[in-house]
Amino acid sequence: MSAQMVVHNPMGYPPKVAGKPLASRLDTLNGRTVYIVDCRFDDSDILLKAVQDWFTEHMPEVKTVYKPISNVYTKDDPATWQEIKEKGDAAVIGVGH
């Protein structure tokens, strides 16, 4: 039998993961404002505008607002999130990794 060796584990320390609840969903989108949020990555503007077109064509009772984020997608954008919270009811964001 080969000699037994004791070695260190090379991994670092992971953070503790604390559960976060999802926001409550809406009963209906009718008459509600949905922000279509463009994270400005790899032609996402074309895709998000197609999402907006779909709502216009299939659910015209939904008001949509196309909203590009205020910076590159790697940066948090609290001003935009606050605007959506105050003026919107829901959000669709893309296109992300």
Partner: protein
């Protein structure tokens, strides 16, 4: 995720199918069992508006259901108990592995993705203890934090954990302060960018000679133990101290990058350079030992010498071959450093950098059409950040600078066997004083 989890707005996230595993992994690590995520075909980039419309109006390649039906349901379908509670868990990292034979441990490290797929030096307690003797820092002291990308969870590492990875890389104990300094920058040599980045490290100051680093012939090649082992340690500590680097999950580099095997690490040839060293340019004293960490290493241009008649044209051609989103790092053999002075009339690094900023230009229309410029600079320009905002106001055929002075770096390296030189697309991502980690 912030809009939904922090601001309380019901949100659906759109991703492409290539990112199914990674995006679901990211939300779990953020305490959410199941974000409302909808997957479209991949890729989006380069597709026509008609093709992208077909994505949105079509079915998801992941679920086989209509994309927009999933979007609407994601905003309106009731949450279950799990959604309301979230996902909480604690993971631990055992200090030691279960005892096993050498062969079984090599296989364990390989199977757990703890290596660069080459054999490693097993980090026995004795070897790690020997490494720890070359720093005054305590083994349990926190060195820094690492993450595979900005949106992934951030892991923490201690001096001992860095030592473990240094042993694995084949580092001699006297290299340890350099490796600790690199770890302290928090820069990951195993970034998950789809662009397939690699890291590079330049060492300045007295420690270069103390530990026998190479700044001369073959400095960036596998001919010096310190250069090689420190670079390998940079890679291994990055992947293990950030929680992994696994293709499809924590690593998404599409092509990969062979430079990531080495994370090329070398000393600047201060003795043969006619100019002040890189770390002195950055405000350190010449007698301090410092490591500068660069990220990118995707693009590279090279040539031989500087010709009297057309050197400016040749260098402009090299620079125009770079993606303008890349910051250029000029790696000059000492022969070339002197040519920039004698042929180019540029007397120091600052003069070269000023010349680069003035001469690396392209039409504004071309500049703004680069995909990476669109992704990372155009958004900043539209919200007024200078000098990007001014560049955005330029007419399409106006020649605008590709780079600003603070994006350009120069290091002198090489053994003067000839006057070859390179421009590497690599941004300065971190600098740390090695003396702080002795």
């Amino acid at each position: 995720m912030s809009i939904d989890l922090k601001y309380g707005v019901p949100t659906v996230c759109l991703h492409t199918s290539m990112f199914t595993t990674v995006t679901q992994s990211v939300v779990r690590m953020n305490g959410v069992p199941r974000m409302r995520q909808v997957y479209l075909p991949h890729p989006v980039m380069g597709k026509t508006p008609a093709e992208i419309r077909a994505y949105v109006f079509g079915v998801s390649p992941v679920s086989g259901r209509p994309v927009m039906q999933e979007v609407v349901e994601g905003l309106t379908q009731s949450l279950n108990d799990e959604d309301r509670k979230g996902l909480s868990f604690v993971r631990s990292t055992p200090r030691l592995c279960e005892p096993a034979s050498e062969a079984d441990l090599q296989q364990l490290f390989l199977d757990n993705n703890w290596t660069d797929k080459l054999p490693i030096v097993l980090p026995t307690e004795d070897r790690v203890a020997a490494m720890l003797k070359h720093t005054s820092r305590k083994p349990d002291e926190v060195v820094g934090h690492h993450a595979a990308t900005h949106f992934r969870e951030v892991w923490q590492c201690t001096v001992e954990q860095v030592a473990v990875n240094a042993v694995m890389a084949g580092a001699r104990p006297e290299y340890f302060p350099v490796i600790l300094a690199i770890a302290s920058t928090g820069v990951s040599a195993r970034g998950s960018s789809t662009s397939s980045m690699a890291a590079m490290a330049v060492v300045n100051g007295p420690i270069r000679k103390e530990i026998g680093m190479n700044a001369g012939t073959g400095a960036m090649a596998p001919y010096n133990q310190a250069n090689a082992a420190i670079g390998r340690a940079f890679g291994l500590l990055s992947q293990n101290l950030q929680g992994g680097s696994v293709p499809g999950d924590t690593y998404m580099g599409s092509m990969g990058n062979a430079l990531a095997y080495a994370s090329p690490t070398f000393a600047e040839n201060e003795e043969r350079s006619p100019w002040e060293p890189l770390h002195v340019q950055r405000g350190f004293k010449a007698e301090q030992s410092v490591v500068s960490v660069f990220m990118g290493c995707r693009a590279m241009a090279f040539t031989l010498g500087l010709r009297h008649a057309h050197w400016q044209d040749h260098v402009r051609n090299m620079m125009r071959g770079m993606d303008p989103s890349e910051s250029p790092l000029f790696l000059l053999d000492p022969i070339v450093a002197r040519l920039f002075m004698d042929v180019g009339g540029l007397k120091d690094k600052k003069a070269i950098i000023d010349w680069v900023v003035e001469n690396a230009r392209m039409p504004a229309g071309e500049y703004w059409d680069y995909q990476l410029i669109q992704n990372y600079k155009y958004p900043r320009a539209t919200f007024g950040e200078e000098p990007l905002a001014s560049k955005l106001r330029a007419a399409p055929d106006e020649l605008i600078p590709m780079w600003t002075a603070d994006e350009v770096n120069i290091a002198v390296v090489g053994g003067e066997t000839n006057g070859y030189w390179r421009i590497v697309g690599a941004r300065l991502a971190g600098t740390a004083c090695i003396d702080d980690w002795r």
